[in-house]
């Protein structure tokens, strides 16, 4: 520290240097405490279901994740819906993105805007209007797996279109022309050049769609009938004591997300290293 400073200035500088760091650490703790609690509780051996408190360490929750069969069937239903919704929304959304970027048609700009509507509308509005639609169409008695799936595909679609469209828009048109110039017909051009280059965008869109579907509560709850997905199950049991296995599921989901993020980052670094060589 420079000797010419007054004590007041010195203190000001010390605070400036340390306050930002301390603030940053506090914000990070704030973000991670809930996750930490979930992980911790997955090892909890509770005395009572009604008191949410760490009473002792056990591996029982991990060894018997399906102690409550209703929870496991809800998880498995959520995964089934998530995978199906992801598959269908990704295929449809990718085709829509191609149409919006590659083809000049009447109403293209309107379509480009309309894609944003489901993202911008409140979920409660989408959910209740879907319910109204299903009831009006005579499906009131058949609400369940399929209506949830239809709803999930609907709201995942916009996110897929926007993600893939961004990737496609950044793709150099010349590459496809170069492929055609080098004797690749339309199909070969798509398989050998376009698809491999757009694939990261499609993969990202699929991951996004799955997490949106797995996570959704409001729209699902309105259109589920008697069917229960994992978020609905958690909501339902929250009032009469959450089984600790819910934390096991939460921890597993968290670990999978972290693994994907770390994997993507490592892959990126590996490629950068290869470029630097």
């Amino acid at each position: 520290m420079s000797p010419g400073m007054s004590p007041l200035q010195r203190m000001g500088r010390w605070i400036g240097q340390h306050l930002v760091l301390a603030g940053g650490i506090l914000v990070l703790i704030y973000m991670f405490v809930p996750i930490f609690v979930v992980v911790l509780m997955s090892f909890n051996d509770p005395k009572s279901r009604l008191v949410y408190r760490f009473d002792g360490f056990t591996l029982q929750n991990w060894l018997n994740p399906c102690a409550d069969a209703a929870m496991c069937s809800a998880v498995s239903r959520s995964i089934q819906i998530g995978l199906l919704a992801t598959l269908i929304a990704t295929v449809l959304g990718t085709m829509m993105a191609f149409a919006l970027v590659r083809h000049r048609f009447h109403g293209r700009s309107v379509a480009n805007l309309a894609i944003f509507l489901p993202m911008a509308s409140p979920e409660i509005v989408l959910g209740s209007s879907l319910l109204a639609l299903f009831v009006a169409a005579g499906f009131a008695g058949q609400l369940g797996f399929w209506t949830i799936l239809i709803a999930h595909i609907m709201f995942c679609l916009s996110f897929v279109v926007i993600t893939v469209r961004a990737r496609l828009a950044g793709l150099d048109n010349n590459l496809e022309q170069a492929a055609m110039d080098l004797y690749a017909n339309e199909r070969q051009t798509f398989l050998r050049v376009t698809f491999p280059l757009v694939f990261p965008g499609i993969l990202g869109a699929a991951l996004l769609a799955f997490s949106l579907s797995f996570d959704d509560f409001i729209i699902t709850n309105l259109n589920a009938g008697n069917t229960t997905t994992f978020p609905m199950y958690v909501w339902g049991v929250a009032q009469r004591g959450v089984p600790m296995q819910v934390n096991v599921v939460g921890t597993v989901m968290f670990v999978i997300s972290v693994a994907i993020v770390v994997g993507v980052e490592l892959n990126r670094r590996r490629q950068e290293k290869a470029l630097a060589r």
Binding site: L175, Q177, L182, A184, L197, A274, L275
Partner: protein, 393 residues
């Protein structure tokens, strides 16, 4: 490399054997919504030649190239390779390959697979041997397993060239292939591409806005302007005997001085140029030549001699008195003067610094002169400034 050269020679001989090969454009026209990019173009590119399409940006040269490649559909007209009409052929069914302006290398494939791409699509055997030979020709053998982004601009350029040449197209199209390189690298790639063209013996059609590049590399240059071909010929012929003001200004620099035709004197045309009668050889006079017609007398700056007032310069009969030096730029190998003539026009003069003649200072009174056989006469209805300052993209 030797293998490539040998196979190229045999290819060349069979190519020459098939009569009427080469690229032929007939009345080729391309209209976009708002404007016509190419106006009824007629062009013949002989087989095995290095042909340059030269013009400012927006003149239609790239559109012409893309129509030959099949990436743009002509509005009317035809494109033929030898006897074969390819006007409506899909790009992947044409024996034509392109080196794109930004190279358009496939970023997800390594150099080897980029070069092998065309061969694999045509299910060629011996891909490995051919790719190895081609990588050797462009001196990239050691880079075979790298991705395009790991290569320098000059190396990427060579990959783009190799990727196209390996298919032995009947015509290789180069779309401003050196535009992204810095000046020094550009000069060395010009020589490199010329060497490869001689070695493989293919027909090259090179599109550029850089007149120096076109003149150094090509056997034949076609100068394009606003969808038309202004003039076509060997580089020296275009430079020495331009037929339009556009060519005179776009290819190098020209002084264009207004004059009135006095009449013909045998082969020559006599022109009253601001009071001095100058003689212009018939094959360099691109006007009707009736007495009383106006015309532009053109002379290249390096053909103009500058001397002290009253001094006899070596070209008798064409001496023009009354000039005043208004600007002197000493370049080293040469000196560039601006000389204000009695009729108010400033002429540009380049003098070689041979040391035999002294430098003139600003404000000195001088006479200028040139040999009659160096001047040319252009149509007065053309814009005197056409093509000036247009080569900067």
């Amino acid at each position: 490399m030797s293998q490539v050269a040998e196979s190229a020679e045999t290819d060349g001989s069979t190519g020459a054997g098939s009569a009427g090969s080469g690229l032929h454009l007939r009345n080729l026209r391309k209209e976009f919504a708002a404007f016509t990019a190419v106006h009824d173009l007629d062009l013949d590119v002989p087989s095995g030649s290095f042909f340059a399409l030269l013009g400012p940006s927006g003149c239609g040269k790239t559109t012409t190239l893309r129509m030959v490649a099949g990436l743009e559909t002509p509005t009317s007209g035809s494109i033929a390779l030898g006897e074969r009409d390819i006007t409506w052929e899909k790009p992947y069914r044409r024996p034509v390959n392109t080196v794109f302006q930004n190279y358009a290398l496939f970023p997800h494939l390594d150099i080897y697979e980029n070069v092998a791409f065309g061969l694999r699509r045509r299910k060629r055997k011996d891909v490995e041997r051919e790719v190895d030979a081609m990588l050797e020709l462009v001196e990239l053998t050691s880079q075979a397993r790298k991705k395009p982004a790991q290569l320098s601009g000059g190396q990427q350029q060579r990959v783009a060239l190799a990727r196209a040449i390996i298919n032995r197209p009947e015509v290789l199209l180069l779309d401003e292939p050196l535009g992204a390189l810095d000046l020094k690298l550009r000069r060395s790639m010009q020589i490199e591409i010329k060497r490869i063209q001689t070695e493989v013996g293919l027909t090259f059609v090179h599109v550029t806005h850089d007149q120096e590049e076109a003149m150094t590399m090509a056997d034949t240059v076609a100068v394009m302007n606003a969808g038309h071909i202004e003039q076509m010929g060997a580089p020296a012929e275009l430079y020495e005997n331009p037929q339009t003001t556009f060519v005179a200004n776009f290819l190098g620099q020209s002084n264009l001085i207004e004059g009135t035709v006095r009449g013909r004197d045998g082969e020559d045309v006599k022109v009253d140029m601001q009071g001095t009668v100058v003689t212009i050889p018939g094959q360099r006079a691109h006007v009707a030549g009736n007495a009383g017609d106006l015309g532009w007398v053109g002379i290249r700056p390096e053909k103009v001699l500058i001397a002290e007032e009253g001094q006899v310069i070596d070209a008798p009969g064409n001496s023009i008195p009354g000039g005043v030096v208004t600007d002197v730029s000493f370049v080293g190998v040469s000196t560039q003067y601006l000389v204000r003539m009695p009729w108010g026009q400033e002429l540009t003069v380049f003098e070689q610094n041979t040391g035999r003649r002294r430098l003139f200072a600003k404000g000195e009174r001088v006479d200028v002169s040139w040999r009659p056989e160096y001047a040319f006469l252009l149509d007065h209805t053309q814009d005197r400034a056409a093509g000036r300052d247009e080569d900067a993209d």
